[in-house]
Amino acid sequence: RRRPSNPNVLVAKEPKKDTKKEPKHANLFFGHLYNQPRLHSVVGASKDVHPAVLALGLQYSSYIICGSTARMVSMLVAFKAVIEDYQTPVGTSLARHLTSHHLSPQIDYLRSCRPLSIGMGNAIRWLKDVIIKIDPSTPESEAKRELITDIDNFIRDRVIAADQLISDYAAKKIEPGDVILTYASSSIVESTLLRAHLDGISFSVIVVDSKPLFEGKRLARNLSQHGIKVRCFSYSGAAHAVKDASKVFLGAHAMMSNGRLYSRVGTASIANLANSNSIPVIVLCESVKFTERVALDSIVGNEVAPAEEILSERERQALLPLKVNGEEEAVTTTNDVWKRVEEAK
C-alpha cells in the first residue's frame, strides 16, 4: 500500500486537452457510465482543494495509487492534513461547516480524478458521521485532534487490524504443496501469501497478469524476492494457469449485498475458470468494503476509464486512425462482477 508521498513526487503534468472530447463516446455497453470526463491535471480544480488532496488526485488518475484499500487509506491520510489545516470561519461551527463546505470540494475533486471506490465511500460516510456528532461546544483544536485520532483509529481497526486478522486466517488455508493462483495484485493477498511463507509453508504462486496496468508484475516481483516460487502468465494464458493451480485467492473491490464480488476486471473469468475446474476460490475482503448495493453483472454499475488507456504508447500510434474515424472504440472497465463467492471475510 502506498501512502501519499511528499508533493515533489507529483507526476509530471501531461498537457492533455483531448479529454474534453470524451463524451463523444456513444459507447455500446457502458454508455450510461460515461458521465464525466476524467481529470488528469490540477487545472480547473477548485481553490478550496487542499494541496495534499491535489497531489493525491493526480496519483489516483495516473494509477500511482490504485487498489481500493490503498486509495481509501491514502484519502483518509490526506483528510487528516486537510483537517489539520482547517480553520472554522467565524459564525459557524466545525460540525456544520467542515463537512459541507470544506470536505466536499476535496471529495468532488478526488471523484473527478477517478470515481470513488466503495471503500472510500464507506469511509467518507463514516467520517461525515463522526464530524456531525461532534459537540458544537468543543473547542476547535480539541475537535480537530479528536478527529485525527478517530481517523487513525479507523485505519488501525478497519484496515490494519482487519488485514492482520484476514491474512492470519487465510494463511491457514494454504497447505504445503499448494499452488495458489492470484490475479493482478491485491495488497491483502500479498500479505497473506507472505504470511504463509514466513510460517514456513512451502507452496508456489501463479500470478495472472493483464493489460494495461500489469499490477501482477509488481506482486510477482515482491513475492519472488521473498523466495516464493512464482510463475507468471498473461491473461490469455489464464486457462492454462488455472489448470495448474490448486487454490485461487482473489482480492476484492467490494462485496455486494447480493453476495457477489465486485473486483478488478477479469476477475470473473478467472473465478469462472476455477469453478469449472473445481478449484476453491477464496476472496479476501475487509468488511469496510461491504456495500448494500446490488449488481447482477458488470454493466449495471462500473467504473470506466478512457479507452486509450488499454493501449500502450506504440499501439496508440498504430491505432490512431481508428479514433479519427470514430467508429472504432475500445472499452475499458475497471471492475468486474462475479456471481459466486465461496468465502469472504
Binding site: 498473461s234 494464458g237 492454462h240 477479469g266 469462472n272 498504430a318 468486474d336
Partner: protein, 481 residues
C-alpha cells in the same frame, strides 16, 4: 537451407516460388526448415505449402508402383510432421493425399475387375445427391481427365472428388455397396484383398480397430494376392500419378474455396442487430463476418488476444490485412469490417466476461479441430468459451475441413505450443525474468462441451458429429503416419 539465405523473407510465397524451380528433395528440406523456424505458421499456410509440396513429390515420383508411392508420400509426411508436430494440419494434408492414392487404386481395381458400365451406374446417384453442387460441379468439369479418358477413370475422379468436397456423401458407403453387390459375382478373397491392399503391417493397431473396414483374415492373403495385383497394375496403362495429382489439385481448390464456402453460411447465423464476439486475426472469421455484413447490420466485439496476436488483430481491424503474415499478399487482403459499415469494438482479453452478458454469439477461429469435437485455438479461447457457457451464449467455431484432424487429444499438453515469454514480460526487466518463470502459451484446448456448433466448408455440424467427418476424410490405415 540454401534457398533460405537466397531469399529475403522466407515464407509461404517464397517457398511456393522456389518450388517451381528447385528439385523435390531440397524443397522438402526447405519446407522442413521453414516449419521449424516458424516462417510458415498457422494452419492455412501450412496446408497450402504441404499440398504444393506433395503435388511436386507425386509429380516427380518415378515408377508405377502405387505401394511405393504411398510409402514415398508417407515418408515425406513423416519428416514434415516431425519437423513441426504441432502444426497438425500438415499431417492432415498428408493423410488426405495418402487416402487419395489408396482410393484411386481401389477404384481402378474395382473397375478393372467389374463391368465398367456398372461402375458408371453406381457412382451416378452419388453425384445427384451431392448436397453442395456449386463446388463439385465446377471441379468435375475442371478435370481434364473426365472427358479424355475411359469411364473407370471418370468414376475414380468422381470418387476422389466426393472425398475432398462433400462430407455428407462419403466414399465409404460407395465401397460397401460395391462390396455387397460384387461379392456374389466375383470371388470373395479378391474383395477382401482389395480392402487390405495397402494396409501396412507396421501399423496394425489403428488399421483394424474402428471401422470394420478390414476383415481379420485378410492379413494372411495380403502378401500373395497383393503382390500379384500390384504387378498387374504396374503393367497396365492406368496412370495413378495423374489421377492422384488431379486429386491434389482438387484439394488445393478446396483450400482456396473453403473460406468462401464457410462464409456462405454466414447469413444463416448472423442476424440484424446482433452483437458478435470474436478473437484473433483470423481471415476465415473476417470473411464470414464480412459476408454477413453485406446484408445485415450488426456489431462486432473483437478480443485482442494480447500478447501474441494483438498486433495482428489491430491491423486486421484497421486495414483488413494481417500484418503478421505479410508473406501471402493479394488474395488475403480484404475490406476491413469498419469499411463495411460494421461497428467494431475492440476489448482486451480481461473484459470478456463483463461484456459476455450482452453478446448474442461467439465466433471462434481455430488452429486445429480434433476428432472428439474439441479444438485447439489461440490462447484465450478457452476463457472466452467458458465465459460464453456461463452466460449461455452460443459458441460457433468456424473452420475449414482441412483443419479437422483425426487426432484424439489424449495428451492435451502435447498440442499446446509455448511462445516467447518476452512478450509477456520484456527481457529488459532482467531482475524479474531471473526470479519468475514467465509462460506464454500460444494455444488453448477448448473441450467439445463448450462448443455449440462447427461451421465448415461442408456446412454446420454438432461437435459430436465431427468423428463422422473424420471417418469420411481419412483412412484408418493412415491415422498413424
Amino acid at each position: 537451407m540454401a534457398e533460405g539465405t537466397a531469399i529475403a523473407t522466407p515464407g509461404l510465397s517464397s517457398f511456393l516460388k522456389s518450388l517451381k524451380t528447385t528439385p523435390v528433395e531440397p524443397s522438402v528440406a526447405y519446407l522442413i526448415s521453414l516449419l521449424k523456424r516458424r516462417q510458415i505458421r498457422n494452419s492455412r499456410q501450412c496446408a497450402v505449402a504441404t499440398t504444393a509440396l506433395l503435388l511436386r513429390v507425386v509429380g516427380e515420383f518415378k515408377g508405377k508402383d502405387s505401394a511405393k508411392l504411398v510409402e514415398r508420400i508417407r515418408q515425406v509426411g513423416r519428416r514434415l510432421t516431425s519437423a513441426q508436430p504441432r502444426e497438425v494440419v500438415v499431417g492432415n494434408i498428408v493423410r488426405r493425399v495418402l487416402g487419395l492414392v489408396r482410393e484411386v487404386v481401389e477404384d481402378h481395381l474395382d473397375a478393372e475387375t467389374n463391368a465398367t458400365s456398372d461402375i458408371g451406374h453406381n457412382s451416378q446417384p452419388h453425384n445427384d445427391s451431392l448436397s453442395r453442387p456449386t463446388l463439385s460441379s465446377t471441379i468435375s468439369t475442371f478435370s481434364p481427365l473426365k472427358h479424355a479418358t475411359a469411364e473407370p477413370l471418370d468414376a475414380s475422379t468422381h470418387q476422389s472428388e466426393t472425398m475432398s468436397d462433400s462430407g455428407e456423401l462419403p466414399k465409404r458407403p460407395g465401397l460397401l455397396t460395391s462390396h455387397t453387390s460384387y461379392v456374389p459375382s466375383s470371388s470373395a478373397p479378391l474383395v477382401n484383398s482389395l480392402f487390405g491392399l495397402f494396409s501396412h503391417p507396421d501399423t496394425p493397431s489403428t488399421s483394424n480397430t474402428p471401422t470394420g473396414h478390414q476383415s481379420p483374415d485378410n492379413k494372411g492373403m495380403l502378401t500373395s494376392l497383393n503382390l500379384e495385383r500390384l504387378a498387374d497394375f504396374s503393367n497396365s496403362k492406368f496412370d495413378v500419378k495423374a489421377e492422384v495429382m488431379d486429386g491434389i489439385r482438387e484439394l488445393q481448390d478446396e483450400l482456396d474455396q473453403s473460406d468462401d464456402l464457410i462464409a456462405a453460411n454466414a447469413l444463416d447465423h448472423i442476424h440484424s442487430n446482433e452483437i458478435i464476439l470474436t478473437h484473433t486475426a483470423s481471415t476465415g472469421v473476417q470473411k464470414f463476418l464480412l459476408t454477413a455484413a453485406r446484408k445485415r447490420k450488426f456489431t462486432v466485439v473483437h478480443v485482442e488476444t494480447f500478447p501474441h496476436d494483438h498486433t495482428g488483430t489491430h491491423s486486421v481491424l484497421l486495414t483488413g490485412k494481417n500484418r503478421d503474415h505479410s508473406g501471402d499478399s493479394e488474395e488475403d487482403s480484404f475490406k476491413p469490417l469498419r469499411a463495411a459499415g460494421i461497428q467494431v469494438v475492440m476489448i482486451p482479453d480481461s473484459h470478456v466476461f463483463a461484456i459476455m452478458s450482452q453478446v448474442n454469439k461467439v465466433i471462434l477461429a481455430t488452429h486445429t479441430v480434433l476428432a472428439n469435437g474439441g479444438l485447439v485455438a489461440a490462447s484465450g479461447a478457452r476463457m472466452i468459451a467458458a465465459a460464453a457457457k456461463a452466460h449461455q451464449t452460443p459458441v460457433v467455431v468456424v473452420s475449414g475441413v482441412y483443419k479437422l484432424s483425426p487426432v484424439y487429444p489424449f495428451d492435451i499438453d502435447e498440442l499446446i505450443e509455448y511462445g516467447d515469454p518476452g512478450s509477456v514480460v520484456p527481457y529488459e526487466d532482467g531482475g524479474f525474468v531471473d526470479l519468475v518463470d514467465v509462460e506464454n502459451p500460444l494455444y488453448d484446448y477448448v473441450p467439445a462441451d463448450l462448443v455449440d456448433l462447427y461451421i465448415t466448408n461442408l456446412g454446420g455440424h454438432a461437435p459430436s458429429y465431427l468423428y463422422r467427418i473424420v471417418a469420411d476424410h481419412y483412412r484408418t490405415e493412415d491415422i498413424n503416419l
